[in-house]
């Protein structure tokens, strides 16, 4: 399917767990730097529309992507650059979509985080929150009907998205059909500017699992180890036929809603709380404390990531933009049924 984004030779340290931890960290780091690159291109006026970063959520997202296999289905949301890379999304897909290259999978028709390759199991989100979950359900039901087994479907949502009717209908639908769905809720304390107190009234969103009759688990979204374990288990459970799995992660969005937003409304107390830790820093400290990686390795990984990204951006910036005169202005695959509405 997709090509690997990391140089595999660089891995292979102490234990299998250490291996995946390092791999996950490096992908999370890559996604962080990628996001930052988009942010800087945005500030330079080189990106049209919004830029949405996963800052503070990378290790959660990457853990999901790492737990999935080729053949699984993944419908990431706006803060999932890390999970995408781990699932195998080519770096170029992200860059081409943000920069509006017609060579990207969305061919300049849709932008930024609205990208994917459905036939390779990576479903491109529409903006309407909650709307992707039932689409993943459909893919999973289709596989059941086709007799394909052993694959799972995963998707992500923020705590704000849990207030949509779509979320509810889809989780209940997955529960009724006992589909191998993994739904990761990133409770990052805010939906745009709206704090949790204005979004829901339960103690924890995990309390919802019981009400749907699905299994659930809570993870500390700032802790890569906890995420790899919690999310990994959820994916295993789903794969083992235990039905839908709800993972609720606690963390804090360490950026604005989008790059246009300074997030001035974020509570200082939250920033100083354990929720406000930078998940990459936490991982770096752990790797150093366990002697899995020293400052040189970290620096090398960072510069390797920067180089990859700069290269991709440089390549895409040379690609010509879309040509409206060559664009096929039809939304139907059956050309014969397309309306040639005459315009003067």
């Amino acid at each position: 399917m997709f090509q690997a984004v990391l140089n595999p030779g660089a891995l292979g340290k102490a234990s299998p767990f250490c291996d995946s931890y390092l791999k996950a960290y490096r992908l999370a780091l890559l996604s962080r730097i990628l996001d930052e690159k988009f942010a800087s291109l945005y500030r330079a006026g080189k990106i049209h529309g919004g830029v949405f970063m996963g800052r503070g959520q990378e290790v959660l997202s990457v853990s999901l992507g790492m737990a999935l296999r080729p053949g699984d289905v993944f419908a990431p949301l706006i803060r999932d650059a890390a999970g995408r890379l781990a699932f195998g999304e080519p770096l170029l897909d992200a860059v081409r979509t943000y920069l509006g290259s017609p060579q990207g999978p969305m061919r300049a028709r849709d932008g930024n985080v609205h990208r994917g390759r459905p036939l390779e199991g990576l479903f491109p989100m529409i903006s309407h929150l909650g709307a992707m979950i039932s689409v993943v359900n459909g893919a999973l039901l289709a596989r059941r009907l086709k007799g394909v087994s052993g694959t799972v479907g995963a998707t992500c949502i923020g705590e704000g998205g849990t207030s949509t009717g779509s979320f509810h209908e889809a989780v209940n639908q997955a529960a009724v059909e006992k589909l191998p769905l993994v739904l990761v809720v990133a409770n990052n304390q805010y939906a745009y500017s709206t704090p949790n107190s204005r979004q829901f009234a339960c103690r924890s969103l995990l309390d919802r699992a019981h009400g749907y009759g699905v299994e659930g688990c809570a993870v500390d979204g700032t802790d890569l180890e906890a995420c790899l374990k919690g999310v990994g288990e959820a994916v295993e459970n789903a794969r083992a036929g235990r039905g839908p799995q709800l993972v609720v992660a606690r963390l804090l969005r360490l950026c604005g809603h989008g790059e246009h937003d300074d997030a001035g409304y974020v509570d200082a107390k939250l920033k100083q709380s354990p929720l406000g830790r930078d998940c990459l820093k936490v991982a770096e400290e752990l790797m150093q404390s366990r002697n899995w990686a020293g400052p040189e390795a970290l620096a090398a990984w960072r510069s390797e990531a920067v180089q990859k990204i700069e290269q991709a951006v440089a390549q895409v910036q040379r690609e010509p933009g879309p040509d409206p005169f060559k664009e096929v202005w039809s939304a139907l695959s059956c050309r014969a049924l397309s309306e040639g509405v005459e315009e003067s």
Partner: protein, 321 residues
Amino acid sequence: MSITYLEAIREAQARALAEDPRVFIYGQDVGAFGGAFKATKNLAKTFPGRVIDAPVSEDAMVGLGVGAAIEGMRPIIEMQFADFSTAGFNQIVNQAATLYWRTNVPCPITIRLPCGGTSGSGPFHSQSMETIYAHYPGLVVLTPATVEDAYSMLLEAVAIDDPVIFCEHKLLYYHLKAEKLPTEALPVGKARISREGRDMTIVAYSAMVHEALAAAEELAGEGFQVEVVDLRSVKPLDTDTVMASVARTGRLLCVGESWPWGGVTAEVIARVVSEGFGLLDAPPRRLNAKDTPVPYHPSLWAAHRPTARSIAGAARNLLRM
């Protein structure tokens, strides 16, 4: 043998299920019960596991259909009434309708909407939603008026690689009958001349075709030869057939059961006048339902929708111009 419009819909689904393993049906009460209108009667038994009861979750029903379509299936999603498709509206117009355009991956999903007014059904079990869906790019909107079309167009809907909104008219379900199922059919996208005439053209679709035909019959008694065009599909809309008819008759009356603002009738007239302005000998006219919700009481309902009588009245006025 005689077969109803509803039975034709059932037979088309049975055939689609039998011939194509990718087809499945998903909707409320469609399984063992056979659906609120019995459009899936016995299908769950004949095709075990492929006719699936859904929770009361229209949004998730459509979303599931899209996901299955991505995986290569050909889902048929039954809405219990067209009116309830508003609850699945977002997934229809923003998810299903945009998928191919965004990703180059087709979305072969058929959404069956039991449409249209019947006596005593009231504002929430009577709506015609073809206008709403036809406005959106990325959807094919079919409105069969005959038993034969119900059958062949539903089969074609399932075969089409794009999302199809299949508007079945509930008033035709039980009463409209044909001798047998068709073996060949006009392709989707082509309108049909249901009755020939040289004095004026009435364009109609779905149940209104029958009101228009009755009006034409009435006017025949007065010496007028009225041509009736059955659009069959409102998107794409077969402007050529309509224009050719208007070119012969010089007069156009357009009839629709949905609300007046911006419906099929406005679209047909706008196309005819901008492309065939010189063809008209008199102003084009239209007749729609009144601009209120559909009333419950039979006598209000009968006054709310166009009928053979009101169509004949409008046609007479136009013939006199």
